[in-house]
Amino acid sequence: MSHKTQSTDQDPALRWQQWIDEHAEVCFLYARQQTRCEADAEDVLQEALVETWSKAQEEVPPRGLVFATIRRRAIDLGRSMDRRARRENEVSEGNNWFVSDVGASDVNDMIQVEMANLPDDLREVLILRVWGEMTFPAIAQLLAIPVATATSRYRYAVERLKPKLTELQP
């Protein structure tokens, strides 16, 4: 995990803005997986960013801490049983999780749908690993699971996505 904004000499507002620019999008992607709807995800993300920033004082908070705070706050907010159904509805309603760099405009949509169909625990590990750039031990610590479980969840997630990815691979 890289933290480019480490300088404590800069203006706090500037450091905050750099931190938001570098990390907020990935954190928002994670928050979307943890909450029932977009509005909840936005609220949880804002609260988590403010909380971790305030606690970190002069330091830039590690991304893992932000993920952990998002997770805790989402649990506090209460995840309802129909979370997945709502998410799938939102996917179809056009709340895009990704911006595609691979050229085809529908690639991200297809992967997003495939990811939405993954079980929650697999998708969570996949996001933390691929976009959160967390190590498996860090993921295991965050989710309070064994490292082997984190690794296997990631592998299962990739296995589930592989047919679609192979199809999309140029």
Partner: protein, 142 residues
């Protein structure tokens, strides 16, 4: 496609940008931590003070309530106007000697009469009660 290729392919997908409204909400950093800590501790202190105040108030109320109950018991609403104790009978049950002296065990019958008046109304209550007591008294020979 192996795992690494899948991983690198997925990484090409960048998370979507923040919605404009959310970005606007995150435009400014939170208040300085020192202020946050102060306000937080101030809130905690206020909550603890309120808890203490509530406990004190509750204690005071209970104390007052108990005191009122006690004062009601201590200040009866009647006054004793007349009280008389009359010995009706004294009957020796036993005479015994202890260290050269004589003692007698007496059974006495008393009549207690009393008149009480209510302080709030012109009501008088007369009562009469017969009591039996056992008394151990030295025997004197005049």
């Amino acid at each position: 496609m192996n795992e690494d290729l899948s991983d690198s392919f997925l990484k090409q997908l960048k998370p979507a940008p923040l919605p404009l409204a959310l970005r606007a909400r995150l435009a400014h950093p939170p208040a300085p931590v020192v202020e946050n800590i102060m306000s937080h501790s101030w809130r905690e202190r206020l909550v603890s003070l309120l808890s203490i105040a509530a406990a004190l108030a509750m204690g005071l109320l209970l104390h007052r309530h108990a005191g009122r109950a006690e004062s009601q018991e201590a200040e009866p609403n009647v006054t004793v106007r007349h009280h008389e104790k009359i010995l009706l009978q004294s009957k020796r049950l036993q005479l015994f000697e202890v260290d050269g002296g004589y003692w007698e065990l007496l059974q006495q019958q008393w009549k207690e009469e009393s008149t009480v008046a209510n302080t709030h109304s012109p009501i008088f209550i007369r009562s009469s009660e017969i009591k039996h007591t056992l008394v151990c008294a030295p025997v004197t020979f005049d």
